[in-house]
Symmetry: C2
Subunit: 451 residues, 2 copies
Amino acid sequence: MKRTLNAESVKNIGKEIKVCGWVDSRRDHGGIVFLDLRDRTGLLQIVSSAKLSESIRNEYVLEVLGTVQERPEKMKNPNLETGSVELKASVIKILSQAHSLPFDLADLDLSLPTLLDNRPLVLRNEKIRAILKIEEGIVSAFRKSMESLDFTGFESPVIVPHNAEGGAEVFKIDYYGRNAYMAQSPQLYKQIMVTAFERVFTVNRVFRAEPSVTTRHLSEYVSLDAELGFIDSWEEIMDVCEKMFLDIFNELKKNCSKELKLLGAVLPEVRKIPRIKMREAQEIIFERTKRDNRKEPDLEPEDEKEICLWAKEKYGSEMVFITHYPVKKRPFYAQPDDKDPGYTLSFDLLFKGLEIVTGGQRINEYEKLLKNIKKWGNKPEQFSFYLQAFKYGMPPEGGFAVGLERVVKQVLGLSNVREASPFPRDMERIDERLSLGKKKAVRKKTSKKKK
Amino acid sequence: MKRTLNAESVKNIGKEIKVCGWVDSRRDHGGIVFLDLRDRTGLLQIVSSAKLSESIRNEYVLEVLGTVQERPEKMKNPNLETGSVELKASVIKILSQAHSLPFDLADLDLSLPTLLDNRPLVLRNEKIRAILKIEEGIVSAFRKSMESLDFTGFESPVIVPHNAEGGAEVFKIDYYGRNAYMAQSPQLYKQIMVTAFERVFTVNRVFRAEPSVTTRHLSEYVSLDAELGFIDSWEEIMDVCEKMFLDIFNELKKNCSKELKLLGAVLPEVRKIPRIKMREAQEIIFERTKRDNRKEPDLEPEDEKEICLWAKEKYGSEMVFITHYPVKKRPFYAQPDDKDPGYTLSFDLLFKGLEIVTGGQRINEYEKLLKNIKKWGNKPEQFSFYLQAFKYGMPPEGGFAVGLERVVKQVLGLSNVREASPFPRDMERIDERLSLGKKKAVRKKTSKKKK
């Protein structure tokens, strides 16, 4: 007999069907056992004799043959999609047994480290699954939005030949006995691809050897990138970003309403996102809090939270573009604003207090770019491949990068970005905890020094 | 004035428009200059006075204001989509200049290493762009097919804690002073995800420290992965793979017909793909060629070509599934065939002589898997995270992995898999050639030995 999915059971009253899934819970009532069977479409109540399900415990994987029957009116469960029916089991086949669970999967009131230690098991929880469904919904919606705006996708490489953007926050690879690095972003490649397709997007894992453990940083995260040529103005880049978020939230509304409801999340209304210069933001923050960060070259996390409160109060917007970061705080390729010397045509997008996007117009003039590469202390010969794109004609262009896990975190109000990644990596964890290895490494160093 | 795309010019006869793009070619005819302007939609002929385009050379980026006029009947170019019109330029603005080109972009009769050295420039060639459009078309079609079959996507990590599948072909990372590795496949993670969503897919960059340079191998490539639980039979995995290719080729027909035509590619008809055991294939190859590889545990590249010729002759199929590889040639997680001891429920899919997919049913029984991990010489403690998925109930499951660049290579009849990647990496190249670095590394080793 072909398998019927749980959600389809309600259409099969009186019929014999076969269902498959995991035992989500077991309740014994005298000689009768109720099993909630979980499959990818939801739960279905199985009614069986005590004998038939004698050895069955939570998370056992079953194949159940039985007859769908309508539940008596007072026994209907309005909280369950299949709550109007139940399956009276005639045959139960155990497809896979489960060891005793270390904790109750329905009630995950545990510390985050414990949850992450047990990630493969925890992924079975319906709320965790909902988070990951929404994450994937955003990836799909991003791709769809980009394609509708005539962007062409491409696959950007992870292995790169140089530590191009400088800094210590890059992972080194042993590449056939040479050094290579893991890309911190697809930046240089997406700019090159503008010369092929004008408008490009790419979804990649990117890597930051982030030396601290915060609720906002991962060592490996998903970056949603867009880059577009022939812009009339750098504001066009923000227009595309705005349109993209509108599309993403509309798609989520359409495809993930069940998951959003389960997690109690309300999607933001994206209309026109306010755009203000960083210096204006600093003035506003000073006025509101008397905290004077007006001479800082960047916004601190607490500033980002404050300016989001302001945007919400003044414009009813959960999001705000902060523009014109100082030249010195941006990479060599950031286009300076000729009308505002010392500042760049760049932006961050803040969402409920957290930066989720960074972008801007790029320098598209070959000589100017070459000069900046030198000025930033980089070796031009390490950029000769990238520079080809500019040497042979590059239109005015720019783009942005979205941190996927941060968007998920903010949409759902999660307290830690790790919850938004199926398998988060940080300084202390790659699936399992790394503390032992770390101690070892430190010990080694010390002993060397002593010698 | 808002920009008009080249392809839209034919709808604007008699009107003044603004177009933007790169100069694909320049032809001087006395006082008149013809420029073919290239944008993402195609070429448009610009007619200008010699004075107006005096300094303009190939690959200059222009913004051109002018009037669209119908070409005289005998001047129409049926090979060009906009060949019935031309733009009489009134204003030409240079957005970006280009240095002299090292070669003619229209005629890339150069060695592959030279083409790859100049990849950012070469990407502007229409045939190269067509290859990459088709590659992206396959990624999109894969995702669409998977979603239609109720698979849920997820993002699989690149950084992994152990060299899990063993072997030297793995890249090592310096992870905060510890060792970590770059994933050779999302295998363990997609199996874990089956317990969350039953049917999952994932698109990832994967890494092989392939120590040789061949036309079929890359150090970094794109893997299209699927994994599904609750299979009735391992043949169901091949059914899904077959359906997926049918979907992909149908989508390509719909969305990339222009590119396929340009490259002279004919898509294969996917109906029922023949399925034969490896040993049967070896017998057939022996009968056809008298080459006796019947005792080999795997097919050699020349065997793969021969059996594809056979499948084409006998079944009219460009593809053939080879099944039942020996236990010893497959990873620890491959499900053995109880009815055929020593062989696994595994398959490769060959397409025009090349392996493009590998897959099979996995061991879903915890104790059996644990035993195999030990038998394969692995440390079970390195698999404790993965094993959680099995310890707490895993249905019968399996899946497959598609090598994206190989599919592109075979669909288009390219001679080297490098041509199917925008930025291919191998032992000798990460964008630029690495030969110098290699020599250095070798020299270092030698001098150490001498000491």
